[in-house]
């Protein structure tokens, strides 16, 4: 299970227009990710971590090269097809949580399942299970504004995990959290990765996150400078 490749990136280059010139965020990246990995893309600000995650998450297109996600070359996917892959196979965790403010915790976690047209009963079961994973069963009726930062991020994890996706992409998930909350969140994700064999890819420069990773990919100026296995 662990060794089956679900993401491969070939000669990936991404350039952004900047006034009259261009800024190259990624330069000829080649990477493979297997099912069940708990890996992170690390590097300083502007090194291209988020851009790489966006391309893997089919939220952006490469300028050159390609990313093959679950067997689908990203360049050949239509906007709708990319949305369908995200809907069924991907979960996202953002630095600023990106919870929907008018929905309760339950409804936020339920949202991805609504898009999958699951029945009410199945949805309820899955949401309660996801909230139990992150230890927020007692907060299902709360609104995001009533939660702490750590709780919000746990809701975001539950939302990302509720549909049991193949891939979870987490962009600086601990950037707004204190040390205790960061460890709690990371332990939760590590546990889910082991139990559900979900592939986690982080974009981070937080040492706390790095200490949990089993694989660390270091980007410098849009290039992979190191790709190392930290834990077997």
């Amino acid at each position: 299970m662990e060794n089956s490749e679900i993401i491969s990136v070939h000669d990936l280059t991404k350039r952004f227009p900047m006034g009259l010139s261009e800024f190259t965020a990624l330069r000829g990246i080649n990477l493979e990710f297997s099912r069940g990995e708990f890996s992170g893309v690390v590097g300083p600000s502007g090194s291209g971590k988020t851009t790489l995650l966006n391309i893997i998450g089919l939220l952006d297109n490469p300028t050159d090269g390609d990313a093959i996600i679950l067997g689908n070359p990203s360049r050949s996917l239509s906007v709708r097809e990319a949305a369908m892959i995200r809907r069924k196979h991907m979960g996202f965790i953002f630095q600023t949580y990106n919870l929907l403010p008018v929905y309760t915790v339950f409804e936020n976690v339920e949202f991805p399942l609504l898009l999958l047209s699951m029945s009410t009963g199945e949805r309820k079961k899955a949401v309660l299970e996801a909230l139990a994973w992150v230890g927020l069963s007692d907060k299902e009726k709360s609104k995001p504004a009533q939660l702490s930062g750590g709780e919000c991020q746990r809701v975001a994890i539950a939302r990302a995990m509720v549909k049991r996706p193949d891939i979870v992409l987490a962009d600086e998930p601990t950037a707004n959290l204190d040390a205790d909350n960061s460890h709690h969140i990371l332990q939760t994700m590590e546990k889910l990765n082991k139990e559900l064999h979900t592939t986690f890819i982080f974009a981070t420069h937080d040492e706390k996150v790095i200490s949990y990773l089993r694989r660390k990919i270091t980007l410098v100026d849009g290039k992979v400078s190191h790709d190392e296995v930290l834990k077997p």
């Binding site: 952006d60 996202f92 008018v102």
Partner: protein
Amino acid sequence: MLAFKLAYKNLVGAGLRTWLNVFVLSLALVIIVMTWGIVEGWNVQAKHDMKEWAVGGGEYWNEKYDQYDPLSLNDGHGSIPPEIAKLCSSGEAVPVLITQATAYPGGRMRNILLNGIDPSQQIVKMPTSVMNGDTSVINAIIGTRMAKATKLSVNDMVSIRWRDAKGTFDATEIRIAGIFHSNVPNIDINQIWLPLDELQKMTSMKGQATYIILKQGMTSAPTVPGWIHKGYDVLFEEFDRVIKAKHASSSVVFLILLSLALLAVFDTQVLSIFRREKEIGTYIALGMTRWQVVWLFTVEGAMHAVLSVVAGAIWGTPLLYLLSKNGFAMPKGSEGYGFTLAEKIFPVYGAGTIIITAVVIMLATTIVSFIPSRKIARMKPTDALRGKAQ
């Protein structure tokens, strides 16, 4: 269905902003329905009054008579044909003879029309029976508008001068036996009503009439040579034109109100898309297509209209009901406007008017919501997630 569910949650979650828009839209809806109801109420009431006081169930006009051509009065009269005379004697019709004349109330000259009508008639509501009083003088009745204009009161004597059928001038004094109040100005302004046989004698037009008023509810109108039957389509033609013009002016009010309300919705949508960029990016990241998000925002905007219909029904129904029961008072002096207009108008709200107004508001709101929402389709999800799409 999902979009409706989400849109409803987002709208309700938006709180005061939503309810302000809903209130403005519902205000537009209720005022539009009320305005149209008043015009329709006027239409219904005026036609009812005209039937009661003037045109009954239709008229026969002498073939040379034209209500809108004063010159036709000279020749527009003739002997009442036996078919119509039969209707008159059975109480199903009443003949009216008209002649031009001059009255001298208070020594001033005033051009008027003398109308002869059978005092015992029951076809129209005019109190003609009061003309049956003192037989030593000619008894006449006039309307309140005429009384006000000429300063005539009951029992006043007034000189009148006219030409008979041969063109000879003649003059006499008549007594004002009664003053009636009617919402129909055509039978009032510059009109004096006399007993038919007196006017026939005065004008040497024995047995003649200008037009015949039929009883309301008469289902058939026989063809009579020399006389033309006029139905409501002709008799109400002028009034229908006034109503049509009123509908047109109401539509302007409709447009102004609706535009103001739609401007509020448009503004909210633009602001909403600007403020909710991250949310839009999140929807896309979670697997919604961009057009699904456009649809969600459009439905959100359109739902303002749905909620406004509900809100309008809640606060507007009792208000409109009260208005329809108590009436809408017309300004003082409106009886001098020259068209049939009651002192109070009781609005009539047709289901069609309400449904059409609600549908127009919903459609317009949907379009106005869609226009700014299209911008989402052009947003880059990565920029939206960072809140930098605009």
